[in-house]
Amino acid sequence: MTAKTADAAHDLEARRLQTLLERLRADSASGGFGYEQLRRRLILFFRQREPIDAETLADEALDRLARRLDEGVQINHPAPYAFGIAKLMLFEANARRLRQEARFDEPENQPAMIEDDDAIDPALVRALRICLRSMDRRGSELMLAYYRDDDARRIKTRRNLAEKLGVTVNTLRNRVLRLRAALETCVRARMTPGATEKHDGFAQNDTSDDD
């Protein structure tokens, strides 16, 4: 591929992405889903079948959606359309797998179950401590209280917490989800080699839905 062709391909990709973003922004304003919201849904969907490649597949689905829009296909509701693309992609992946199995007469390797080691990495404990410390104190206390109880008491505890805060149980749930996701983001960032020195604080999770 020459440099000129590569530039043209890049321009085309950028234009498609721009079209997709604009379309989803407009859709989001009228009650649909924005780009990140749609991507999150695609990841959740693919995660059930292809956990290792869920993010890549979600990006591929969005890429296909962008191409359809760029080709001028009339798409009234992008989210269900993306869902259709995602189902088709799974169908294609299954067909590929079947062909491969037939060719080699053996099943393709399934993703191995990763051993969940009971031992806790001291570095993880340190990272969590730093991240909890950098969290708003009320936030960390709220999170620990929310996740404290087991199944039998969970609902009652959460209702009481929501009542105390004067919010609905769903609002409380969403608030705590954001806190936990942000805590995980912070811990992951600190556990990334070389990132420790740079990342002192508590990252805000800006990729979640606002719903």
Binding site: F33, Q37, L38, R40, R41, L44, F45, Q48, P51, I52, A79, P80, A82, F83, P111, M113, I114, D116, D117, D118, I120, D121, P122, L124, V125, R126, L128, R129, L132, R133, S140, E141, L144, Y147, R148, D150, D151, A152, R153, R154, I155, K156, V169, N170, R173, N174, L177, R180, A181, L183, E184, V187, R188, M191, D209, D211
Partner: protein, 261 residues
């Protein structure tokens, strides 16, 4: 009685928490799973409901609250990627933190009469106030406990060590706080209490302990001041809080005297 799980979130998503958990564990009935997936791309609330169900499932897993078939499914489906494993490990550290923070050290009080080592009169027992529990009764912030927990000495009490009428565990001398991990047996209850006492009184009670797991080993853990274990023979009892006729697991222990300098 109505299953409380079935009521939550139903008004928002029309899917119960149990169905969301089943979907995550790949065991939701296919038609219902297809409906859920379709709703995923239409209902603004579904992703949060799924994420919330996933965290609850993971928390139940790391705290040893799931039956073995569900444990296997969680290990199979919610620990499939390095990202998932990291999430599980974070959940485990959070659980440690929450459990330690939540363990309340009660003031000393009398044992119930049915315990065999409380044969002396309640009046006498009531007169003996032990300061150990008060020493152990102090607030611990999540940060303090998480930080300190890993460095504390661990006393592990296995069930097979308690057999025999005169079984006595000799523990090496410790100062400061120690983590006591006591094995529990099936069926696993939701909450346990751990009591440390001598022949007459209970000197320390830790309540609301959640069962935890390390491989096939099921146990409860709490942090206690080592002082609660020194000064002669001690009895450690672990019993479910939610069942009055459950078996009490009992250990006789003696901590060695402090070294002479």
């Amino acid at each position: 009685m109505m299953d409380s799980r079935k009521t939550t979130l139903q008004t928002m998503t029309d899917f119960t928490d149990q169905e969301l958990r089943d979907w995550l564990l790949r065991r939701l009935e296919p038609t219902r799973a297809a409906e859920l997936e379709e709703r995923l791309f239409a209902d603004p609330d579904i992703p949060d409901a799924i994420d919330a169900a996933r965290y609850d499932l993971i928390d139940d897993y790391v705290r040893g609250r799931l039956p073995s078939n569900e444990r296997h499914l969680v290990a199979q489906h919610l620990a499939a990627t390095p990202d998932d494993v990291m999430r599980l490990q974070i959940a485990r550290v959070l659980a440690e933190s929450a459990a330690s923070t939540h363990a309340r050290f009660a003031r000393p009080r009398e044992h119930v009469a049915r315990r065999r080592f409380i044969a002396v009169s309640a009046a006498l027992a009531g007169c003996i106030v032990i300061a150990v529990a008060v020493i152990g009764h102090r607030d611990r912030s999540p940060m303090q406990t998480t930080e300190a927990l890993a460095s504390l000495p661990v006393i592990t009490l296995r069930e097979d060590q308690q057999r025999g009428e005169h079984a006595m565990l000799i523990l090496p001398y410790r100062a400061g706080d120690v983590r006591v991990q006591a094995e529990i047996d099936e069926p696993i209850s939701q909450r346990y209490e751990l009591k440390i006492g001598d022949a007459r009184t209970v000197v320390l009670t830790a309540r609301d302990l959640s069962p935890r797991a390390a491989g096939a080993y099921r146990f409860v853990e709490t942090v206690v001041p080592a002082k609660a274990l020194v000064g002669g023979e001690r009895q450690i009892d672990v019993l479910p809080q939610d069942s009055s006729d459950a078996r009490v697991i009992h250990w006789n222990v003696r901590m060695s005297d402090p070294p002479v300098h």
